[in-house]
């Protein structure tokens, strides 16, 4: 499931990248998506996410060879679906629950910095594989901000003319993660 999305680095050179208009459209989409997350507008975020959305973060590690990936996809840090995010994750921010959702109250302030967006075309004209670099900054209460970096591989699809996020896979760089909390939507 993961291999098909992450792929091998060998395809970088011959990837068919999207044109400037498509790149701009998808970059805007990602910026808008980040805005919804930073503003904690989760009910609106869910609207631009596919019914069968999957969000996974494998466990970062330092492998014993530079030719092996610096993550282990047998064990995951995060494995969520649209259903679980709606009913378990975002639900904790709702008015009737948030007061006792101690970890989110007060919420960590997140800032998504998304750069180096690469849009790859696939065999299906309505499916794009979009890689980008992500820096997530998290500020808890009065603490100094902390940040975490990684590479996203998103599957973005056009359904009924609109772009939606169908899958997100994020490879982190930091092995011993030092961040205000690990319940993070990168």
């Amino acid at each position: 499931m993961t291999a098909e999305v992450v792929g091998s680095r060998a395809d970088v050179k011959r990837a068919r990248l999207g044109d400037a208009i498509l790149h701009s459209e998808i970059s805007q989409f990602l910026a808008y998506e980040s805005e919804l997350l930073d503003d904690r507008k989760f009910h609106e975020w869910v609207e631009i996410v596919a019914e069968d959305f999957v969000y996974q973060v494998p466990t970062p590690r330092t492998p014993d060879s530079p030719f092996k990936p610096h993550y282990d996809d047998r064990s995951l840090l995060i494995d969520e679906s649209r259903w679980s995010m709606t009913t378990q994750w975002f639900r904790r921010f709702d008015e009737d629950i948030y007061e006792a959702a101690w970890g989110e109250n007060p919420p960590v302030r997140f800032r998504h910095l998304v750069t180096n967006v690469r849009v790859r075309l696939t065999d299906d004209p309505d499916v794009y594989e979009v890689r980008s670099n992500i820096a997530l900054v998290g500020t808890r209460q009065s603490d100094l901000p902390k940040y975490i970096t990684g590479e996203r591989t998103d599957r973005i699809e056009r359904r009924d003319g609109e772009l939606i996020l169908a899958r997100r896979w994020v490879v982190l760089d930091q092995v011993v993660i030092d961040f205000p909390q690990l319940r993070i939507l990168l």
Partner: protein, 449 residues
């Protein structure tokens, strides 16, 4: 300033959660002597397989040598101290130092000293005297590998004592054994290394408050879920706590179902007969209708098996098993490792559900942990003030709880009741013994259970 009056017979000074001197003493008195969990055998199945871990603040290589024996070595060259392993895991028959090239077999023996005759002269260096430095004892039970620096420490079996029976409930009931799934997640927690262990030792008191949102989200079995599991449902969950000696503790909470025979809800029915085979009747009784079983092996390892409901949709329930370890970094910082374990050869669809039950609740990104961690971090944050550090904590809960009936057959000191602090007292009683703090400093660690 006069000492603040202690409102009970048992307390611990608050500075224990944020004081550098106490911390330094812990490193000497506890981490130089106690057995510590380093790895699970499934992480290093083949000769040469190794993982990098810590004992206290020391990094160690846990490696299976060519004869299949598990070895533990300090990850530092005997020459001038460069680490030998830089990867978190891998496979190596030898470790070669990057500085001057000394080479060690994975047994720890120093095999090669580069330009030995040139540098040290003939016979100038006895390689036999310079193996990698290793713990005095390494041993394993139920696939759990432990090590201690102390040659005088009791055997692992004696050290674990009665907690071994409880470890069997989780790690010894699968006919094909268990395996750690992949690389452990690691993270920094701005909390003293003891706080999470205290909680996992058996704090059934915090659950409904700290995790109140999880009830609203359906992740805890409610009457709605329970009536689908049994016709006869009691109104209240019941729990027991165990002081297993040596600072080791356990809590077992049962689903309030009145049922004949064993029902290992959260596992596929096909697995149940295997549990009956592997466990004694008393152990079966402890694991049947389990809501949660968790405990700690002193000083810094905790384990849990837990039944979580509706984890990937309505009526999709599963149990998971987890080990966590906390490495001390400084008085208010620790590194936490998270190991998810699965029975070998389990049905993949159930294994997936078990993983989700873990990750979405008590995994590193799980919502229970997010809420718990705020408490643990808060304790350290609020224990470094010049006044707050002088206050005692109150850990008197559950003293009136009755002893469990002896016919239950559970080892250790078992009490009916889990809204209690007795497991935390058990941890701190052992902690105080080992710390041997100057009189008056260990404010009143009375003998009350």
């Amino acid at each position: 300033m006069t000492m603040v009056e202690v409102p009970g017979e048992f307390t611990v000074p608050r500075r224990s959660w944020g004081d550098d001197e106490v911390f330094d003493r812990e490193m000497q008195q506890i981490f130089r002597h106690c057995w510590q969990y380093v790895a699970h055998e499934s992480e290093i199945p083949e000769p040469g397989d190794y993982v990098l871990r810590k004992m206290g603040r020391d990094q160690v290589i846990v490696v299976r040598d060519e004869s299949g024996q598990v070895r533990v070595h300090l990850n530092t060259c005997r020459h001038r101290g460069v680490p030998l392993c830089r990867a978190d895991s891998g496979n190596a028959s030898h470790f070669r130092c990057s500085y001057h090239g000394w080479t060690y077999a994975n047994t720890g023996e120093l095999r090669g000293v580069t330009y030995q005759a040139d540098v040290y002269g003939k016979g100038g260096l006895d390689k036999k005297k310079l193996p990698l430095f290793s713990p005095a004892q390494v041993d394993s039970e139920l696939g759990l590998i432990f090590a201690t620096w102390d040659p005088e420490a009791p055997s692992l079996r004696d050290y674990l004592g009665d907690i071994l029976w409880y470890l069997q409930l989780i790690f010894g009931k699968h006919p094909n054994g268990m395996e750690v799934v992949g690389t452990p997640v690691r993270n920094i927690v701005k909390a003293n290394w003891k706080t999470e262990g205290e909680n996992l030792s058996g704090d059934g008191y915090h659950t409904t408050i700290t995790h109140s949102s999880a009830f609203d989200l359906g992740l805890f079995a409610t009457q709605k879920d329970l009536v689908k599991l049994a016709d006869d449902v009691a109104p209240k969950f019941t729990g027991r706590t165990v002081d297993a000696g040596n600072g080791h503790t356990m809590r077992i909470q049962r689903l309030p179902l009145r049922l004949q025979g064993n029902h290992y809800f959260g596992y596929p029915k096909e697995m149940w007969a295997g549990f009956d085979r592997m466990l004694s009747p008393e152990q079966q009784q402890a694991m049947s209708c389990l809501s949660v079983g968790h405990g700690s092996v002193f000083p810094n390892m905790s384990f849990i098996e837990n039944f979580k409901t509706n984890v990937d949709g309505p009526d999709l329930h599963a149990r998971y098993a987890r080990i966590t370890v906390r490495y001390p970094i400084d008085a208010t910082t620790s590194e936490q490792l998270w190991f998810f374990l699965a029975p070998k050869g389990a049905d993949p669809e159930w294994a997936r559900l078990s993983r989700l039950a873990y990750l979405r609740t008590n995994g590193p990104s799980g919502l229970f942990e997010i809420d718990d961690t705020e408490n643990f971090v808060g304790i350290s944050e609020a224990s470094v003030g010049d006044v707050s550090r002088t206050l005692p904590v109150i850990i008197e809960g559950g003293k009136h709880h009755p002893e469990a009936p002896p016919e239950l057959g559970w080892p250790g000191n078992v009490v009916d009741g889990d809204k209690t602090e007795r497991t935390i007292r058990a941890f701190h009683r052992r902690w105080s013994e080992l710390m041997d703090l100057p009189a008056g400093d260990a404010a009143g660690t009375g003998a009350a259970r």
